[in-house]
């Protein structure tokens, strides 16, 4: 136990965690068909990025990393607003549509 307690999480651990979170989010986008769940997975990816920025800001001693996260959050919020608006417009026309049903670009 003392050995475990002595090991401090380094920046690398945080970055690895962020990578795993990002990967899970990517898989989720590709596998899920419900548009809202796909969007949530995109949020997961954004969070992973935020986590790495913050970790690096601490390691490098630069507040710029946290500023970036600030802006990412703002933009993510705006993006969610617009995205959900689009999903709402589509879902109104065709209730129960999944991502696969929007296939007007089929060649």
């Amino acid at each position: 136990m003392s050995l475990l307690a002595a090991a401090t999480p380094t920046t690398t651990w945080y970055l690895i965690l962020a990578a795993v979170l990002f990967g899970i989010g990517a898989v989720g986008v590709l596998v899920r068909r419900n548009p809202l769940v796909m969007f949530m997975c995109i949020e997961l990816m954004l969070n992973a990025v935020n986590l790495s920025f913050v970790a690096l800001a601490k390691k490098m001693g630069d507040i710029g990393g946290q500023t970036t996260v600030f802006f990412v959050m703002v933009v993510a919020a705006a993006e969610v607003v617009v995205g959900l608006g689009i999903i709402v417009s589509i879902m109104r026309r065709r209730p129960g549509a999944t991502a696969d049903d929007i296939s007007a670009l089929k060649g």
């Binding site: 690398t12 419900n34 949020e43 001693g61 500023t67 703002v74």
Partner: protein
């Protein structure tokens, strides 16, 4: 102590993330997302990003996920998705490749370059004692309104545009035949 915090928060994050992608009911997925977001907020605190942790909880978990739930309920898409079948046979293997590839490569990159990350800024301010000046929020504020003020202004415009755009997008036009 830090280790314990890290492990717990990491567990929250990962459980929540996996929950998002495997729960067939969208409402359950949203709740898992909240778990992940909380975990990330804890991580932020551990990294001396106190303000951001607060913003994370308030904006992300408090506003965005609630918005998701509103839309889910509004549209009535809370029916469970059938996850056992996949119309595109190639999709799941591809997803596995992409996921494993991204994770593996980024981890490898991170591990191999850990000694290359050096201090370059002036350092983060941490509050040692209660009532101490120049804590995290002050430092962050100086950065946002100082170095990045233009970006700040533009982002505020972006928010207005997003809101206006969405209102227009989702407007029901009077007398339109396509009304559902």
């Amino acid at each position: 102590m830090e280790l314990v915090v890290f492990v717990l928060a990491a567990a929250m994050i990962l459980v929540g993330a996996v929950g998002v992608i495997v729960r067939s009911n969208p409402v359950h997925a949203a709740l898992s997302l909240i778990l992940t977001l909380f975990g990330v907020a804890v991580m932020f605190v551990a990294q001396n990003a106190h303000f951001l942790a607060a913003v994370q909880v308030i904006v992300y978990a408090g506003a965005i996920v609630v918005l998701f739930l509103f839309v889910i309920m509004l549209l009535g898409v809370d029916r469970s998705e059938d996850l056992s079948s996949e119309p595109f046979k190639v999709q799941r293997p591809l997803a596995a490749i992409v996921g494993l590839g991204v994770i593996g490569l980024v981890v490898a990159a991170v591990v191999s370059s850990r000694d290359a990350i050096t201090v370059r800024g002036t350092g983060l301010n941490v509050a040692d004692t209660v009532g101490d000046g120049d804590t995290n929020i002050k430092q962050l504020a100086r950065s946002v309104f100082g170095d990045y003020v233009v970006a700040f202004e533009v982002t505020s415009v972006l928010l207005v545009v997003a809101v206006v755009g969405t209102v227009l997008l989702t407007r029901r036009v009077k007398g339109s035949v396509k009304d559902s």
